[in-house]
Protein backbone atom coordinates (compact mmCIF):
# COMPACT_ATOMS: atom_id res chain seq x y z
CA UNK A 1 0.00 0.00 0.00
CA UNK A 2 2.78 2.34 0.99
CA UNK A 3 4.45 1.37 -2.27
CA UNK A 4 1.40 2.39 -4.22
CA UNK A 5 1.70 5.89 -2.82
CA UNK A 6 5.34 6.05 -3.69
CA UNK A 7 4.63 4.84 -7.18
CA UNK A 8 1.88 7.32 -7.81
CA UNK A 9 4.13 10.05 -6.50
CA UNK A 10 6.84 8.88 -8.87
CA UNK A 11 4.46 8.82 -11.78
CA UNK A 12 3.31 12.29 -10.85
CA UNK A 13 6.89 13.52 -10.89
CA UNK A 14 7.51 11.83 -14.20
CA UNK A 15 4.46 13.44 -15.71
CA UNK A 16 5.39 16.87 -14.49
CA UNK A 17 8.93 16.36 -15.70
CA UNK A 18 7.85 15.34 -19.14
CA UNK A 19 5.52 18.29 -19.49
CA UNK A 20 8.37 20.58 -18.49
CA UNK A 21 10.43 19.02 -21.23
CA UNK A 22 7.55 19.51 -23.58
CA UNK A 23 7.32 23.20 -22.77
CA UNK A 24 10.90 23.50 -23.78
CA UNK A 25 10.20 21.75 -27.04
CA UNK A 26 7.10 23.83 -27.63
CA UNK A 27 4.11 21.65 -26.84
CA UNK A 28 2.38 24.44 -24.94
CA UNK A 29 1.34 26.29 -28.06
CA UNK A 30 -0.06 23.07 -29.45
CA UNK A 31 2.96 22.48 -31.66
CA UNK A 32 5.83 20.05 -31.25
CA UNK A 33 9.04 20.69 -33.13
CA UNK A 34 10.09 17.74 -35.23
CA UNK A 35 13.24 16.10 -33.95
CA UNK A 36 15.58 15.07 -36.71
CA UNK A 37 18.74 13.05 -36.86
CA UNK A 38 21.92 14.37 -38.37
CA UNK A 39 22.56 13.00 -41.85
CA UNK A 40 25.80 11.18 -41.13
CA UNK A 41 27.88 10.00 -44.08
CA UNK A 42 28.29 6.21 -44.08
CA UNK A 43 32.06 6.56 -43.92
CA UNK A 44 31.76 8.55 -40.69
CA UNK A 45 29.43 5.91 -39.25
CA UNK A 46 31.89 3.19 -40.17
CA UNK A 47 34.98 4.90 -38.81
CA UNK A 48 34.08 7.40 -36.10
CA UNK A 49 32.29 7.59 -32.78
CA UNK A 50 28.77 8.99 -32.96
CA UNK A 51 28.64 12.80 -33.00
CA UNK A 52 28.20 14.89 -29.91
CA UNK A 53 24.71 16.37 -29.56
CA UNK A 54 23.89 17.79 -26.12
CA UNK A 55 20.64 16.46 -24.64
CA UNK A 56 19.82 20.03 -23.63
CA UNK A 57 19.67 21.05 -27.29
CA UNK A 58 18.26 18.31 -29.52
CA UNK A 59 18.25 18.86 -33.28
CA UNK A 60 14.81 19.88 -34.52
CA UNK A 61 13.66 20.91 -37.95
CA UNK A 62 12.32 24.21 -36.61
CA UNK A 63 15.43 24.90 -34.54
CA UNK A 64 17.70 24.31 -37.53
CA UNK A 65 15.54 26.52 -39.80
CA UNK A 66 15.63 29.30 -37.23
CA UNK A 67 19.36 28.87 -36.70
CA UNK A 68 19.97 29.12 -40.41
CA UNK A 69 17.97 32.33 -40.71
CA UNK A 70 19.83 33.85 -37.77
CA UNK A 71 23.18 32.75 -39.17
CA UNK A 72 22.63 34.71 -42.37
CA UNK A 73 20.88 37.70 -40.78
CA UNK A 74 22.82 40.92 -40.08
CA UNK A 75 20.18 41.76 -37.48
CA UNK A 76 22.56 40.33 -34.88
CA UNK A 77 25.13 43.10 -35.42
CA UNK A 78 24.88 46.62 -34.00
CA UNK A 79 24.68 48.42 -37.38
CA UNK A 80 22.92 45.54 -39.12
CA UNK A 81 25.72 45.05 -41.65
CA UNK A 82 27.44 41.88 -40.42
CA UNK A 83 26.04 38.38 -40.15
CA UNK A 84 27.81 35.20 -39.12
CA UNK A 85 27.96 34.40 -42.83
CA UNK A 86 29.95 37.56 -43.55
CA UNK A 87 32.97 35.80 -42.06
CA UNK A 88 31.64 32.26 -42.52
CA UNK A 89 30.60 32.13 -46.17
CA UNK A 90 29.10 28.81 -47.36
CA UNK A 91 30.82 29.19 -50.75
CA UNK A 92 34.15 29.22 -48.89
CA UNK A 93 33.39 26.23 -46.65
CA UNK A 94 32.09 28.75 -44.12
CA UNK A 95 35.18 30.92 -43.74
CA UNK A 96 36.30 34.01 -45.68
CA UNK A 97 39.39 34.70 -47.76
CA UNK A 98 40.73 37.54 -45.65
CA UNK A 99 43.72 37.23 -43.35
CA UNK A 100 41.70 38.92 -40.61
CA UNK A 101 37.96 39.32 -41.05
CA UNK A 102 36.24 42.67 -41.05
CA UNK A 103 33.54 43.25 -38.47
CA UNK A 104 31.31 46.23 -37.70
CA UNK A 105 32.94 49.64 -38.50
CA UNK A 106 35.71 47.78 -40.30
CA UNK A 107 36.95 46.41 -36.99
CA UNK A 108 39.75 43.90 -37.46
CA UNK A 109 40.62 40.97 -35.20
CA UNK A 110 43.88 39.10 -34.83
CA UNK A 111 42.83 35.62 -35.94
CA UNK A 112 41.92 34.09 -39.26
CA UNK A 113 38.24 33.11 -39.53
CA UNK A 114 37.68 29.36 -39.24
CA UNK A 115 35.80 27.13 -41.66
CA UNK A 116 32.75 25.48 -40.09
CA UNK A 117 32.00 21.81 -40.73
CA UNK A 118 31.91 18.49 -38.87
CA UNK A 119 31.83 20.44 -35.61
CA UNK A 120 29.72 17.79 -33.85
CA UNK A 121 32.71 15.41 -34.01
CA UNK A 122 34.91 17.68 -31.91
CA UNK A 123 34.63 15.44 -28.85
CA UNK A 124 36.68 17.64 -26.55
CA UNK A 125 34.17 20.42 -27.28
CA UNK A 126 36.90 23.04 -27.42
CA UNK A 127 36.29 25.60 -30.13
CA UNK A 128 38.20 28.48 -31.76
CA UNK A 129 41.93 28.45 -32.50
CA UNK A 130 42.92 28.55 -28.84
CA UNK A 131 40.14 26.33 -27.49
CA UNK A 132 38.65 28.98 -25.23
CA UNK A 133 35.03 28.25 -26.14
CA UNK A 134 33.77 25.09 -24.49
CA UNK A 135 30.82 24.20 -26.74
CA UNK A 136 29.24 25.28 -30.01
CA UNK A 137 26.45 26.97 -28.05
CA UNK A 138 28.85 28.90 -25.84
CA UNK A 139 30.98 29.90 -28.81
CA UNK A 140 27.96 31.55 -30.45
CA UNK A 141 27.56 34.06 -27.59
CA UNK A 142 30.91 35.59 -28.39
CA UNK A 143 30.77 37.15 -31.90
CA UNK A 144 27.59 39.09 -31.13
CA UNK A 145 29.23 41.20 -28.44
CA UNK A 146 32.81 41.17 -29.76
CA UNK A 147 33.72 44.76 -30.68
CA UNK A 148 35.56 43.84 -33.85
CA UNK A 149 32.87 41.41 -34.95
CA UNK A 150 29.18 42.26 -34.37
CA UNK A 151 29.67 44.80 -31.58
CA UNK A 152 26.15 44.42 -30.24
CA UNK A 153 24.59 43.63 -26.88
CA UNK A 154 22.22 40.79 -26.23
CA UNK A 155 19.38 42.92 -24.85
CA UNK A 156 19.30 44.86 -28.09
CA UNK A 157 19.36 41.62 -30.10
CA UNK A 158 16.48 40.16 -28.09
CA UNK A 159 14.44 43.37 -28.53
CA UNK A 160 14.98 43.42 -32.26
CA UNK A 161 13.97 39.79 -32.58
CA UNK A 162 10.87 40.21 -30.39
CA UNK A 163 9.69 43.15 -32.51
CA UNK A 164 10.45 41.49 -35.81
CA UNK A 165 7.65 40.39 -38.13
CA UNK A 166 8.82 36.76 -38.50
CA UNK A 167 11.08 35.80 -35.63
CA UNK A 168 8.57 35.54 -32.74
CA UNK A 169 6.64 32.89 -34.66
CA UNK A 170 9.81 31.00 -35.62
CA UNK A 171 11.10 30.99 -32.05
CA UNK A 172 7.72 29.82 -30.83
CA UNK A 173 7.77 26.92 -33.27
CA UNK A 174 11.27 25.93 -32.23
CA UNK A 175 11.22 26.59 -28.50
CA UNK A 176 7.63 27.18 -27.40
CA UNK A 177 6.73 30.05 -25.13
CA UNK A 178 10.17 30.55 -23.62
CA UNK A 179 10.90 34.28 -24.06
CA UNK A 180 13.37 35.09 -26.79
CA UNK A 181 16.82 35.61 -25.35
CA UNK A 182 20.48 34.91 -26.02
CA UNK A 183 20.16 31.30 -24.84
CA UNK A 184 17.62 30.45 -27.51
CA UNK A 185 19.56 32.30 -30.20
CA UNK A 186 22.73 30.31 -29.54
CA UNK A 187 20.81 27.04 -29.32
CA UNK A 188 19.27 27.63 -32.74
CA UNK A 189 22.61 28.70 -34.25
CA UNK A 190 24.31 25.61 -32.82
CA UNK A 191 21.64 23.31 -34.26
CA UNK A 192 22.23 24.77 -37.70
CA UNK A 193 26.00 24.57 -37.30
CA UNK A 194 25.81 20.87 -36.39
CA UNK A 195 24.12 20.15 -39.73
CA UNK A 196 27.17 21.45 -41.62
CA UNK A 197 28.70 18.13 -42.54
CA UNK A 198 31.35 17.73 -45.20
CA UNK A 199 31.92 14.12 -46.25
CA UNK A 200 31.77 13.87 -50.00
CA UNK A 201 35.17 14.80 -51.41
CA UNK A 202 37.00 12.90 -54.12
CA UNK A 203 38.96 11.07 -51.43
CA UNK A 204 35.73 10.03 -49.69
CA UNK A 205 34.52 8.66 -53.01
CA UNK A 206 37.85 6.87 -53.41
CA UNK A 207 37.44 5.29 -49.98
CA UNK A 208 33.93 4.23 -50.95
CA UNK A 209 35.36 2.58 -54.05
CA UNK A 210 33.58 4.96 -56.44
CA UNK A 211 36.65 6.51 -58.03
CA UNK A 212 40.39 6.08 -58.33
CA UNK A 213 43.26 8.38 -57.46
CA UNK A 214 45.81 9.58 -60.00
CA UNK A 215 49.32 8.29 -59.34
CA UNK A 216 50.28 11.80 -58.14
CA UNK A 217 47.41 11.88 -55.65
CA UNK A 218 48.26 8.39 -54.46
CA UNK A 219 51.91 9.29 -53.94
CA UNK A 220 50.81 12.48 -52.16
CA UNK A 221 48.70 10.38 -49.79
CA UNK A 222 51.73 8.14 -49.18
CA UNK A 223 53.86 11.20 -48.36
CA UNK A 224 51.14 12.35 -45.96
CA UNK A 225 51.11 8.96 -44.22
CA UNK A 226 54.86 8.25 -44.28
CA UNK A 227 56.70 8.94 -41.03
CA UNK A 228 59.92 9.65 -42.91
CA UNK A 229 58.39 12.12 -45.36
CA UNK A 230 55.33 14.28 -44.61
CA UNK A 231 54.14 12.50 -41.48
CA UNK A 232 51.01 14.62 -41.41
CA UNK A 233 48.68 11.83 -40.28
CA UNK A 234 49.67 11.84 -36.62
CA UNK A 235 47.74 15.12 -36.28
CA UNK A 236 45.62 15.53 -39.39
CA UNK A 237 43.61 12.29 -39.64
CA UNK A 238 43.86 9.57 -42.25
CA UNK A 239 41.83 7.16 -44.37
CA UNK A 240 40.54 5.89 -41.01
CA UNK A 241 39.81 9.31 -39.55
CA UNK A 242 37.83 11.22 -42.18
CA UNK A 243 37.70 14.36 -40.03
CA UNK A 244 41.27 15.10 -41.18
CA UNK A 245 42.03 16.62 -37.80
CA UNK A 246 42.66 15.31 -34.29
CA UNK A 247 40.90 18.38 -32.84
CA UNK A 248 43.86 18.74 -30.45
CA UNK A 249 46.26 21.60 -29.86
CA UNK A 250 49.84 21.65 -31.10
CA UNK A 251 52.69 23.98 -31.88
CA UNK A 252 53.59 23.16 -35.47
CA UNK A 253 56.71 25.31 -35.49
CA UNK A 254 55.45 28.58 -36.96
CA UNK A 255 57.40 30.90 -34.65
CA UNK A 256 60.40 30.98 -32.33
CA UNK A 257 58.66 33.49 -30.05
CA UNK A 258 54.94 34.01 -29.74
CA UNK A 259 52.91 37.18 -30.11
CA UNK A 260 49.73 35.12 -29.69
CA UNK A 261 50.05 32.53 -26.90
CA UNK A 262 47.10 30.48 -28.19
CA UNK A 263 46.05 27.68 -25.84
CA UNK A 264 48.60 28.91 -23.28
CA UNK A 265 46.64 32.12 -22.70
CA UNK A 266 43.53 30.03 -22.02
CA UNK A 267 45.04 27.41 -19.70
CA UNK A 268 47.65 29.68 -18.10
CA UNK A 269 50.19 26.89 -18.61
CA UNK A 270 53.39 28.04 -20.30
CA UNK A 271 53.73 24.54 -21.78
CA UNK A 272 50.69 25.36 -23.92
CA UNK A 273 52.13 28.57 -25.38
CA UNK A 274 52.04 28.68 -29.16
CA UNK A 275 49.63 25.76 -29.41
CA UNK A 276 46.61 26.08 -31.68
CA UNK A 277 43.84 23.74 -32.74
CA UNK A 278 44.72 21.46 -35.65
CA UNK A 279 42.43 22.55 -38.49
CA UNK A 280 40.77 20.01 -40.75
CA UNK A 281 42.42 19.63 -44.14
CA UNK A 282 39.12 19.28 -45.91
CA UNK A 283 38.23 22.06 -48.32
CA UNK A 284 41.61 23.84 -48.42
CA UNK A 285 40.73 24.84 -51.98
CA UNK A 286 38.20 27.27 -50.50
CA UNK A 287 39.73 28.35 -47.20
CA UNK A 288 42.98 30.27 -47.87
CA UNK A 289 44.75 32.01 -46.26
CA UNK A 290 46.01 29.45 -43.75
CA UNK A 291 47.00 29.13 -40.07
CA UNK A 292 45.55 30.94 -37.05
CA UNK A 293 46.87 34.28 -38.29
CA UNK A 294 46.33 33.62 -41.98
CA UNK A 295 50.05 34.01 -42.68
CA UNK A 296 50.22 31.63 -45.64
CA UNK A 297 48.34 32.51 -48.82
CA UNK A 298 48.79 29.17 -50.58
CA UNK A 299 49.02 25.44 -49.94
CA UNK A 300 52.57 25.56 -51.40
CA UNK A 301 53.63 27.97 -48.66
CA UNK A 302 52.17 25.64 -46.03
CA UNK A 303 54.03 22.64 -47.45
CA UNK A 304 57.26 24.64 -47.64
CA UNK A 305 56.78 25.55 -44.00
CA UNK A 306 56.64 21.91 -42.93
CA UNK A 307 59.43 20.94 -45.31
CA UNK A 308 62.04 23.60 -44.52
CA UNK A 309 60.53 26.50 -42.58
CA UNK A 310 60.12 25.08 -39.07
CA UNK A 311 61.13 27.35 -36.21
CA UNK A 312 62.22 25.86 -32.92
CA UNK A 313 60.71 26.76 -29.56
CA UNK A 314 60.31 24.95 -26.26
CA UNK A 315 56.73 23.91 -26.99
CA UNK A 316 57.20 22.76 -30.60
CA UNK A 317 55.55 19.39 -31.11
CA UNK A 318 57.95 16.41 -30.88
CA UNK A 319 56.48 15.17 -34.17
CA UNK A 320 58.22 18.01 -36.00
CA UNK A 321 61.41 16.52 -37.45
CA UNK A 322 64.85 17.85 -38.31
CA UNK A 323 63.86 21.20 -36.85
CA UNK A 324 67.46 22.47 -36.89
CA UNK A 325 67.39 22.07 -40.68
CA UNK A 326 63.90 23.58 -40.88
CA UNK A 327 62.20 20.26 -41.61
CA UNK A 328 62.43 17.02 -43.56
CA UNK A 329 63.19 18.69 -46.95
CA UNK A 330 60.60 17.07 -49.17
CA UNK A 331 61.52 16.71 -52.83
CA UNK A 332 59.75 18.99 -55.32
CA UNK A 333 57.91 15.97 -56.65
CA UNK A 334 56.68 14.90 -53.21
CA UNK A 335 55.59 18.48 -52.51
CA UNK A 336 53.58 18.71 -55.71
CA UNK A 337 52.00 15.31 -55.09
CA UNK A 338 51.19 16.16 -51.48
CA UNK A 339 49.32 19.21 -52.73
CA UNK A 340 47.48 17.11 -55.30
CA UNK A 341 46.42 14.75 -52.55
CA UNK A 342 45.30 17.58 -50.23
CA UNK A 343 43.06 18.87 -53.01
CA UNK A 344 41.26 15.51 -53.19
CA UNK A 345 39.75 16.53 -49.85
CA UNK A 346 37.78 19.29 -51.62
CA UNK A 347 34.04 18.81 -51.21
CA UNK A 348 32.06 21.04 -53.60
CA UNK A 349 28.84 19.24 -52.74
CA UNK A 350 29.29 20.75 -49.31
CA UNK A 351 29.89 24.33 -50.47
CA UNK A 352 27.03 24.07 -52.96
CA UNK A 353 24.57 22.30 -50.70
CA UNK A 354 21.30 24.23 -51.13
CA UNK A 355 20.42 23.59 -47.49
CA UNK A 356 23.38 25.75 -46.49
CA UNK A 357 22.84 28.78 -48.72
CA UNK A 358 21.43 32.20 -47.88
CA UNK A 359 17.70 31.71 -47.23
Amino acid sequence: MKNAWIYSFLIFILISCSSEEAVELGVDNGYTPVQIELEIPQLFKDKLLAPNIPTSNPQTQEGIQLGKKLFFDPILSSDKTISCATCHDPQKAFTDNLQFSKGVNDGIGTRNSMPLFNLAWNFDDRFTWDGKQLSIERQAFEPVTNHVEMNNDWKEVANRLKNHTDYPELFKKAFGDTPIDSNLVVKALAQFERTLISGNSKFDKFLRGETTLTSEEQNGFDVFMDESRGDCFHCHGSNNNPLWTDNKFHNNGLDATFTDLGLGAVTGDANDNGKFKTPSLRNLAFTAPFMHDGRFATIEEVINHYSEGLKNSSTIDPLMKKVNQGGVQLTDLDKADLKAFLLTLTDSDFTNNPAFQLP
Binding site: M225, E227, H234, C235, D317
Partner: protein, 253 residues
Protein backbone atom coordinates in the same frame (compact mmCIF):
# COMPACT_ATOMS: atom_id res chain seq x y z
CA UNK B 1 33.40 -25.38 -25.49
CA UNK B 2 33.86 -28.76 -23.82
CA UNK B 3 36.54 -27.17 -21.69
CA UNK B 4 34.10 -24.55 -20.57
CA UNK B 5 31.43 -27.12 -19.71
CA UNK B 6 33.86 -29.15 -17.72
CA UNK B 7 34.90 -26.05 -15.89
CA UNK B 8 31.35 -25.06 -15.04
CA UNK B 9 30.78 -28.57 -13.73
CA UNK B 10 33.89 -28.32 -11.66
CA UNK B 11 32.77 -24.93 -10.46
CA UNK B 12 29.41 -26.32 -9.43
CA UNK B 13 31.13 -29.06 -7.50
CA UNK B 14 33.42 -26.55 -5.90
CA UNK B 15 30.56 -24.34 -4.85
CA UNK B 16 28.84 -27.35 -3.45
CA UNK B 17 31.82 -28.28 -1.40
CA UNK B 18 32.35 -24.67 -0.49
CA UNK B 19 29.24 -24.53 1.57
CA UNK B 20 30.76 -27.19 3.75
CA UNK B 21 34.36 -26.10 4.14
CA UNK B 22 33.84 -22.49 2.81
CA UNK B 23 37.31 -22.28 1.36
CA UNK B 24 36.71 -21.00 -2.16
CA UNK B 25 33.41 -19.17 -2.52
CA UNK B 26 31.99 -17.88 -5.76
CA UNK B 27 31.43 -14.22 -5.22
CA UNK B 28 30.53 -11.12 -7.16
CA UNK B 29 33.56 -8.88 -6.85
CA UNK B 30 34.16 -5.31 -7.81
CA UNK B 31 37.65 -5.32 -9.24
CA UNK B 32 39.54 -2.11 -9.87
CA UNK B 33 42.72 -2.14 -11.90
CA UNK B 34 44.90 0.95 -11.48
CA UNK B 35 47.71 1.69 -13.89
CA UNK B 36 50.32 3.51 -11.88
CA UNK B 37 52.99 5.09 -14.05
CA UNK B 38 56.44 5.59 -12.67
CA UNK B 39 60.05 6.27 -13.59
CA UNK B 40 62.14 3.75 -11.66
CA UNK B 41 60.01 4.05 -8.56
CA UNK B 42 59.08 7.74 -8.83
CA UNK B 43 55.43 8.38 -9.63
CA UNK B 44 54.78 9.98 -13.04
CA UNK B 45 51.55 11.91 -13.69
CA UNK B 46 50.57 14.41 -16.34
CA UNK B 47 51.94 17.13 -14.07
CA UNK B 48 55.40 15.75 -14.77
CA UNK B 49 54.97 16.23 -18.53
CA UNK B 50 56.93 18.73 -20.67
CA UNK B 51 59.89 18.93 -18.32
CA UNK B 52 63.24 17.44 -19.41
CA UNK B 53 63.80 15.86 -16.03
CA UNK B 54 64.00 12.12 -16.61
CA UNK B 55 67.29 10.35 -17.24
CA UNK B 56 67.38 7.04 -19.05
CA UNK B 57 69.81 4.16 -18.67
CA UNK B 58 72.09 5.61 -21.33
CA UNK B 59 72.21 8.96 -19.51
CA UNK B 60 70.01 10.84 -22.03
CA UNK B 61 67.77 13.49 -20.46
CA UNK B 62 64.19 13.48 -21.64
CA UNK B 63 60.69 14.80 -21.20
CA UNK B 64 57.30 13.20 -21.80
CA UNK B 65 54.69 15.05 -23.85
CA UNK B 66 52.44 12.18 -24.87
CA UNK B 67 52.11 8.69 -23.43
CA UNK B 68 49.28 6.51 -24.63
CA UNK B 69 48.96 2.83 -25.42
CA UNK B 70 46.62 -0.11 -25.90
CA UNK B 71 46.30 -3.20 -23.74
CA UNK B 72 44.09 -5.94 -25.17
CA UNK B 73 42.63 -9.30 -24.15
CA UNK B 74 42.74 -8.37 -20.50
CA UNK B 75 41.77 -11.35 -18.37
CA UNK B 76 42.17 -13.17 -15.09
CA UNK B 77 43.59 -16.67 -15.23
CA UNK B 78 43.14 -19.00 -12.28
CA UNK B 79 45.55 -21.77 -11.24
CA UNK B 80 43.60 -24.34 -13.28
CA UNK B 81 44.10 -22.22 -16.37
CA UNK B 82 40.54 -21.04 -16.59
CA UNK B 83 40.21 -17.57 -18.06
CA UNK B 84 37.78 -14.83 -17.10
CA UNK B 85 37.84 -12.11 -19.78
CA UNK B 86 37.71 -8.61 -18.29
CA UNK B 87 38.04 -6.30 -21.27
CA UNK B 88 38.54 -6.59 -25.00
CA UNK B 89 40.95 -3.65 -25.09
CA UNK B 90 41.75 -0.57 -23.08
CA UNK B 91 43.17 2.68 -24.49
CA UNK B 92 45.21 4.30 -21.75
CA UNK B 93 46.30 7.92 -22.07
CA UNK B 94 48.47 9.26 -19.26
CA UNK B 95 48.43 12.87 -20.48
CA UNK B 96 44.64 12.95 -20.80
CA UNK B 97 44.20 10.78 -17.70
CA UNK B 98 42.05 8.39 -19.66
CA UNK B 99 41.49 4.84 -18.34
CA UNK B 100 44.20 5.10 -15.69
CA UNK B 101 41.76 3.17 -13.59
CA UNK B 102 39.36 0.53 -14.81
CA UNK B 103 36.63 -1.10 -12.71
CA UNK B 104 34.26 -3.94 -13.36
CA UNK B 105 32.14 -6.51 -11.54
CA UNK B 106 32.83 -10.16 -12.08
CA UNK B 107 31.48 -13.37 -10.55
CA UNK B 108 34.63 -15.28 -9.65
CA UNK B 109 35.98 -17.63 -7.02
CA UNK B 110 38.13 -16.55 -4.12
CA UNK B 111 41.50 -17.61 -5.44
CA UNK B 112 44.86 -16.45 -6.58
CA UNK B 113 44.90 -15.23 -10.15
CA UNK B 114 47.24 -14.12 -12.85
CA UNK B 115 46.31 -10.87 -14.58
CA UNK B 116 47.11 -11.43 -18.24
CA UNK B 117 47.00 -8.97 -21.12
CA UNK B 118 48.56 -8.26 -24.47
CA UNK B 119 50.56 -5.09 -24.95
CA UNK B 120 49.16 -3.73 -28.22
CA UNK B 121 47.11 -6.03 -30.43
CA UNK B 122 48.03 -9.47 -31.67
CA UNK B 123 47.92 -9.70 -35.48
CA UNK B 124 44.54 -11.37 -35.28
CA UNK B 125 43.01 -8.38 -33.49
CA UNK B 126 45.08 -5.73 -35.25
CA UNK B 127 42.47 -5.23 -37.96
CA UNK B 128 42.57 -1.99 -39.90
CA UNK B 129 40.03 0.68 -38.98
CA UNK B 130 37.71 -1.45 -36.84
CA UNK B 131 38.01 0.33 -33.48
CA UNK B 132 36.03 3.56 -33.73
CA UNK B 133 37.40 5.20 -30.59
CA UNK B 134 40.96 4.54 -31.74
CA UNK B 135 40.21 5.94 -35.21
CA UNK B 136 38.75 9.02 -33.61
CA UNK B 137 41.93 9.33 -31.51
CA UNK B 138 44.06 8.94 -34.69
CA UNK B 139 45.85 5.87 -33.37
CA UNK B 140 46.05 4.18 -36.77
CA UNK B 141 49.03 2.85 -38.68
CA UNK B 142 49.32 3.87 -42.33
CA UNK B 143 48.34 1.48 -45.13
CA UNK B 144 51.96 1.60 -46.36
CA UNK B 145 52.95 -0.19 -43.15
CA UNK B 146 50.10 -2.66 -43.29
CA UNK B 147 47.45 -0.66 -41.43
CA UNK B 148 46.07 -1.63 -38.05
CA UNK B 149 46.94 0.34 -34.95
CA UNK B 150 49.79 1.74 -32.94
CA UNK B 151 50.51 -0.19 -29.76
CA UNK B 152 51.95 2.92 -28.15
CA UNK B 153 52.69 6.56 -28.90
CA UNK B 154 55.30 7.98 -26.57
CA UNK B 155 56.49 11.46 -27.57
CA UNK B 156 58.81 13.88 -25.84
CA UNK B 157 62.08 15.75 -26.18
CA UNK B 158 65.59 14.68 -25.29
CA UNK B 159 69.05 16.10 -24.77
CA UNK B 160 72.41 14.35 -24.80
CA UNK B 161 76.03 15.40 -24.96
CA UNK B 162 75.84 15.50 -28.74
CA UNK B 163 72.23 16.66 -29.08
CA UNK B 164 72.39 19.84 -27.04
CA UNK B 165 69.14 21.50 -28.18
CA UNK B 166 66.04 19.66 -27.00
CA UNK B 167 64.93 17.47 -29.89
CA UNK B 168 61.71 15.56 -30.41
CA UNK B 169 61.51 11.81 -30.13
CA UNK B 170 58.61 9.58 -31.20
CA UNK B 171 58.87 6.22 -29.48
CA UNK B 172 56.01 4.73 -31.49
CA UNK B 173 55.49 1.01 -31.06
CA UNK B 174 53.74 -0.93 -33.83
CA UNK B 175 53.84 -4.38 -35.38
CA UNK B 176 57.32 -4.68 -36.89
CA UNK B 177 57.21 -4.37 -40.65
CA UNK B 178 59.91 -4.57 -43.28
CA UNK B 179 58.82 -2.32 -46.15
CA UNK B 180 61.91 -2.67 -48.31
CA UNK B 181 59.61 -3.97 -51.00
CA UNK B 182 56.38 -1.94 -50.69
CA UNK B 183 54.50 -4.58 -52.63
CA UNK B 184 55.58 -7.33 -50.33
CA UNK B 185 55.53 -6.19 -46.72
CA UNK B 186 57.09 -8.57 -44.21
CA UNK B 187 55.55 -8.51 -40.74
CA UNK B 188 56.49 -9.71 -37.31
CA UNK B 189 53.90 -9.62 -34.55
CA UNK B 190 55.71 -7.60 -31.87
CA UNK B 191 52.82 -7.40 -29.45
CA UNK B 192 53.57 -9.38 -26.30
CA UNK B 193 51.77 -11.01 -23.41
CA UNK B 194 52.20 -9.79 -19.87
CA UNK B 195 51.50 -12.13 -16.93
CA UNK B 196 51.22 -10.63 -13.48
CA UNK B 197 50.94 -13.60 -11.15
CA UNK B 198 49.73 -14.41 -7.65
CA UNK B 199 46.99 -11.90 -7.14
CA UNK B 200 44.80 -12.95 -4.21
CA UNK B 201 41.20 -11.98 -4.91
CA UNK B 202 39.12 -12.85 -1.87
CA UNK B 203 37.08 -9.79 -0.91
CA UNK B 204 34.02 -8.26 -2.52
CA UNK B 205 36.06 -5.24 -3.58
CA UNK B 206 39.58 -5.75 -4.75
CA UNK B 207 42.16 -3.39 -6.20
CA UNK B 208 45.00 -4.46 -8.45
CA UNK B 209 47.76 -1.91 -8.83
CA UNK B 210 49.75 -2.42 -12.01
CA UNK B 211 53.03 -0.56 -12.08
CA UNK B 212 54.08 0.82 -15.45
CA UNK B 213 57.76 1.69 -15.31
CA UNK B 214 58.36 3.93 -18.32
CA UNK B 215 62.15 3.85 -17.77
CA UNK B 216 62.18 0.16 -18.73
CA UNK B 217 61.54 1.06 -22.38
CA UNK B 218 65.09 2.36 -22.48
CA UNK B 219 67.09 -0.24 -20.64
CA UNK B 220 66.22 -3.87 -20.38
CA UNK B 221 67.78 -5.75 -22.17
CA UNK B 222 68.62 -3.09 -24.78
CA UNK B 223 70.20 0.16 -23.65
CA UNK B 224 68.43 2.69 -25.82
CA UNK B 225 70.38 5.60 -27.28
CA UNK B 226 68.06 8.41 -28.28
CA UNK B 227 70.77 9.99 -30.45
CA UNK B 228 70.57 6.95 -32.69
CA UNK B 229 66.90 6.09 -32.42
CA UNK B 230 64.46 8.93 -31.86
CA UNK B 231 62.27 9.46 -34.89
CA UNK B 232 60.89 7.56 -37.89
CA UNK B 233 60.85 4.38 -35.85
CA UNK B 234 57.59 3.09 -37.33
CA UNK B 235 59.16 1.85 -40.58
CA UNK B 236 62.25 0.65 -38.66
CA UNK B 237 61.85 -3.11 -38.29
CA UNK B 238 64.89 -3.58 -36.04
CA UNK B 239 63.87 -0.75 -33.73
CA UNK B 240 60.46 -2.38 -33.29
CA UNK B 241 62.09 -5.66 -32.33
CA UNK B 242 64.22 -3.84 -29.72
CA UNK B 243 61.12 -2.14 -28.32
CA UNK B 244 59.41 -5.49 -28.07
CA UNK B 245 62.38 -6.75 -26.05
CA UNK B 246 62.37 -3.80 -23.67
CA UNK B 247 58.62 -3.58 -23.19
CA UNK B 248 58.31 -6.92 -21.46
CA UNK B 249 59.69 -5.60 -18.17
CA UNK B 250 57.63 -2.40 -18.14
CA UNK B 251 54.66 -3.91 -16.30
CA UNK B 252 54.79 -5.34 -12.79
CA UNK B 253 52.73 -5.55 -9.61
Amino acid sequence: MIKKLVYILMLAVTIWSCSSDSDETLQNKKITINFIHEWDGTLVTKDDFNDIKFKNENGDSLSIEKYRYVLSDIKLVDPSGFETPLKDYLFIDLGEEQNLSYSLEELILDRTYTLRFTFGFTDEKNQDGVYLDLNTASFNVSPGLGGGYHYMQFDGKFKTETTTTPTGFNYHVIRAVDNTDPNNLVFQDTSFTVNLADIWLKNTTETINVKVNIAEWFKNPNTWKLDELHQMLMPNFDAQVLMNGNGKSVFSL
